[in-house]
């Protein structure tokens, strides 16, 4: 396992999630992520995203199957980045769509409490249909805003 056990609860929160891919010519791409499910037994992430944000990412993953995911807690800015090999993608199930809509509602409620427009944020990011990417984390990095951020976390003892 590479993801610290404490991250299981951290990742269940309504974090702000974004994915990234890279082409073989090193052009990066960002994909807005509308929810994440983490399987600690296998260090595997299932990351949901609206299909409309994924076209370039699909092309990148065909030639360079590597993904990065950042998740940031909106009150404290505590954040981590997970990187590793892409496994697959597929259409989301009805249950997974419901999960994303509930997640986005929680996230927009938090943003609304900061003074942002909850409906505006929801409208910007919630677009049907959705897809689910799966990748396995092999590295974890601290992304919290502090001196020394970006460092790789030590792998938990097994």
């Amino acid at each position: 396992m590479v993801v610290p056990p404490g991250h299981v609860d951290f990742l269940r929160q309504p974090l702000s999630f974004w994915l990234a891919t890279a082409a073989l010519d090193n052009t990066p791409e960002v994909i807005k992520c509308t929810g994440v499910l983490f399987q600690p037994e296998t260090d595997t992430f299932t990351c949901f995203a609206p299909l409309k944000f994924c076209r370039t990412g699909f092309r990148h993953l065909e030639e360079n199957p590597v993904m990065a995911l950042v998740g940031v807690e909106l009150y404290t800015y505590e954040g981590y980045q997970y990187k590793g090999p892409y496994i697959s993608h597929r259409e989301c199930s009805t249950g997974e769509v419901a999960f994303q809509l509930a997640y986005m509602k929680q996230l927009t409620d938090i943003l609304h409490s900061f003074g942002y427009s909850g409906p505006g944020y929801y409208k910007a990011y919630v677009h049907h249909p959705f897809v689910a990417f799966t990748f396995r984390a092999t590295q974890v990095f601290d992304q919290s805003p502090k001196s020394g951020t970006g460092g790789e976390l030590a792998k938990p003892a097994t």
Partner: protein, 133 residues
Amino acid sequence: MNRKEMKLEEIMSALQGVIPTIVATSSADHIPNVTYISQVYYVDEGHVALSYQFFNKTIRNVRENPLLVAIVTSPLDYKLYKLKLLYRESQTSGEIFENMEIQLEALAHVKRKEGIFKLRAADIYEVLSIEEI
């Protein structure tokens, strides 16, 4: 999806730092990196400056592979814009640096994060393309 050619002046509301910017880079060996930054600062019609505070891997990546993609959000209508940028230089003094430092201090005050928003450099990027997503 809107593919029309856009100008920086059309997306000024998204460059005020109200909503944090997402940036992605790639290392020379094709490993993506994604993180948040506080500010994208308008320099002129063809350039922006990104705040270099502590996002070390992003900084290392753009020194070896100068392409960067940033997602900025307008707080007025929540429109999202993808900026494809090319790193040009890093400035640690001068008008751009000083203006960014002032804006960053103001943002830090609003977000109650004084002390962690210290600007190390203003990284200047050429804007290759802007796309509404």
